[in-house]
């Protein structure tokens, strides 16, 4: 396992473990607990002080512990598919774990509320199964789509989000949030304060600004001061705590640590010859993967979506807190997965970071890769498609590493 380079990553992991321990205690004491999708408006829960766990974060923990195959088996035993939407279904499998002592981190406490958008075809069904379990209520959020969109969402989103997303989608998401708040008030007895939400939104924006500074710093520094394996815990653990002072300060500490490394001329790979971009979700079951190309090829993964979307995808400023929050989530996945937004953003980021090549993780799902790869290649950037699921180890071919290495030597290292 790769050792943590940054103190901010070590501190984030320590904080996360302590937080999870407290969360388990709070759930055991009968407090409400929500399980929410990564792209859902968690800020409402934060403002109402309702503890929550992010569905995909827990899946990444399970995958990192190499427990995903066991979890998928638990689904299969109950007649559910183990071959689709694994990243979203693994947490559900934790509910069926017969031996909680064997579960990572002591096991996922049983939520009382699950929140997810109706995106895709299978995602909603997974939440339906959650909602069929005793004591768990599924609150579904609509997810709308748009006909015509301006391409440069990253310029528009912070302030001109109405123009980027469109009024109809925002109106719908605002009404969804109204419904969610009333539901939470009614079922948990917790209070919603608009004042509290404003504070949460301010903290999230401050956090995003620190992430933007960090992203820009890494983008403009050669050789790279760190690899994506260093940045992911430092940015993602605070991301799941966004809206707190700890998360805002963690983002600042992360920046300062990177800045200090840049000032000292520290490089993650002294022999850096190639800067790589990783498009797609993290390969949670083998994070060492990202580092194995440094020694052999001088290739450093300098970019992942986690820091980049934390920089560009979250900032939203506005006078009306609910509409501003709606603007963060009404089109969140489009930023990453829907052309032209996704492909043009990846090109923008590739150029900003001066990458020499892109490795694109492509799962067997509907999101596809053609338009992103086409746009990158048109910009003169070679792309390697790596076909695998990011949590299901069964999908990973052992020959991948050799093939990727060959591609690096053939098309990228010059």
């Amino acid at each position: 396992m790769v050792e943590k380079l940054l103190a901010s990553a070590t501190e984030a992991t320590r904080y996360q473990r302590a937080w999870f321990r407290d969360l388990r205690a709070s759930a055991a004491a009968g407090d409400p607990l929500a399980l929410v999708n990564a792209d859902a408006p968690q800020e409402i829960f934060r403002a109402m002080e309702i503890p929550y766990v992010v569905n995909q974060w827990w899946a990444s923990v399970v995958a990192a512990k190499r427990r995903a195959p066991h979890h998928l088996e638990l689904l299969r035993e109950r007649g559910y598919p183990d071959y689709t939407e694994q990243y979203s279904s693994i947490s559900l499998a934790s509910l069926f774990e017969p031996d909680p002592d064997a579960a990572p981190w002591g096991g996922l406490p049983r939520p009382t509320i699950v929140l997810g958008e109706t995106v895709g075809d299978g995602g909603r069904k997974i939440f339906d199964v959650w909602g069929q379990q005793p004591g768990i209520t599924y609150y579904a959020l609509e997810s709308a789509a748009e006909n015509a969109v301006p391409v440069n969402w990253w310029d528009l989103m912070p302030h001109d989000w109405e123009k980027a997303i469109g009024t109809a989608r925002l109106d719908l998401m605002v009404s969804e949030l109204h419904g969610l708040i009333r539901f939470l008030e009614t079922t948990t007895g917790r209070v919603f304060s608009e004042r509290a939400l404003r504070r949460v939104l301010d903290l999230v924006n401050e956090q995003a600004e620190w992430n933007r500074r960090t992203r820009d710093l890494i983008a403009g520094t050669t050789p790279s001061p760190l690899a994506v394996t260093d940045s992911i815990p430092s940015v993602m653990i605070p991301q799941w705590h966004r809206g707190t002072e700890w998360a805002r300060d963690a983002a600042q500490r992360f920046y300062e640590e990177v800045e200090s490394r840049v000032r000292a001329g520290a490089a993650v790979c002294e022999n850096e010859r190639v800067r790589l971009m990783w498009i797609g979700r993290g390969l949670w079951y083998d994070m060492d993967f990202y580092r194995r190309f440094e020694e052999r090829h001088g290739a450093v993964f300098v970019w992942s979506m986690y820091l980049a979307v934390a920089a560009d995808g979250y900032p939203r400023y506005g006078d009306d807190p609910l509409r501003t929050l709606a603007a963060r989530f009404a089109a969140f996945t489009d930023q990453l997965y829907t052309p032209p937004w996704s492909c043009e953003w990846y090109v923008k980021e590739a150029k900003l970071h001066g990458v020499d090549g892109v490795v694109h993780l492509v799962s067997d799902d509907a999101r596809g890769s053609y338009f992103t790869n086409r746009a990158l290649r048109a910009a003169g950037i070679p792309v390697y498609e790596l076909h695998a699921d990011n949590v299901d180890t069964r999908s990973y071919q052992e020959s991948t590493e050799q093939a990727l290495g060959d591609w690096l030597e053939r098309e990228v290292v010059r």
Binding site: Y80, A145, A168, L172, P340
Partner: protein, 355 residues
Amino acid sequence: MGTTPLERLIDHYERRYPVTADGPVIGYVGQDVPVELVTAAGALPVRLAGRPGTDVTAGETYLGRGVDRWVVSVLTRLLGGEYGRLDRLLVSRDCEASLRLFYAVRELRRVEPGLGLPEAYLVDVLHLPHWTTTRYDRIRFAELVAVLERWTGTRLTPAAVAAAIGLHDERRELLRAVSALRRELRLTGVQALAVFGAVLPVAEHNQLLRDLMESSLDVHSGRRVFLTGSAHDTPDVYLVLEKAGFVVVGEDHDWGDLLASRLVGEPTLDALVERYQYNGPTAARASIADRAAYTARAAVECGAELVVSYVRRNDDAPPWDFPAQAAALRAHGIPAVLVDRQEYGSIDLAEVPVG
């Protein structure tokens, strides 16, 4: 062209494409497209189906390997011009594959305009059972009215919309009668799919359906099977099942019985919106509980001896429905079998209990 109403309907189904029509033709993808508005605009709505067993490399290039193959086939056919003259394209969001098709067409028109794909418009009908969703859908319908007026140059007056709603509701009533014929085994599943999916103006379709009701039809025999799971835009799987001794007496997908499950009932745009919001329940958009209840009820009404959940590769929703469907059917003594990860247009009969 055949001589009996059934033969003529089958002809209109088998020769769906390329489309030949004098007036404007609007291709559409997915049952969430309100065809009433297309009819009211004076255009012919033509629902697009794929073609199993053909090379789909072109579509796969753009959509990848993770999209339900019927949509990959539709894109391939669009690129190859197989549908004939389509003046415009309406794509609904009835499932993820349709949405991905829309995004692909939109992006291809932007970056590879030389491919000559028609202008496409997304009909974003949402389905959660909330009035806030109705309000959103109403906005989208109003936008669609404006788009159709621009495309066709025809004003969609309340009277025109009302007349179109009347025609399409009449067709739904007639299709319900077709479903009743199936339950009497006077139509096979293959024939019923053709009767449902024949491409011709709605008034002419209605006349042929009325003629069909008055015609003499053979009585078929076979083990009565109800199909759930993926939708069937072509009869290939039905043909395999019926050759194996089954008769498909009903289904819960929207190329079949589900097309007529809900009427508009009132000649207004607001009623049309609610009809499409609450239509279904389709596998991709309904809850597991709604699907299980509907499938069980429909299978009982059809006198099904067996329910087959046929699921294509990359059709993500139906396998999640199956455990609850099987449980609901067990309560009625109807066995159910899941045949999943099937290739487009084919079914592995080894998975289906025969006899």
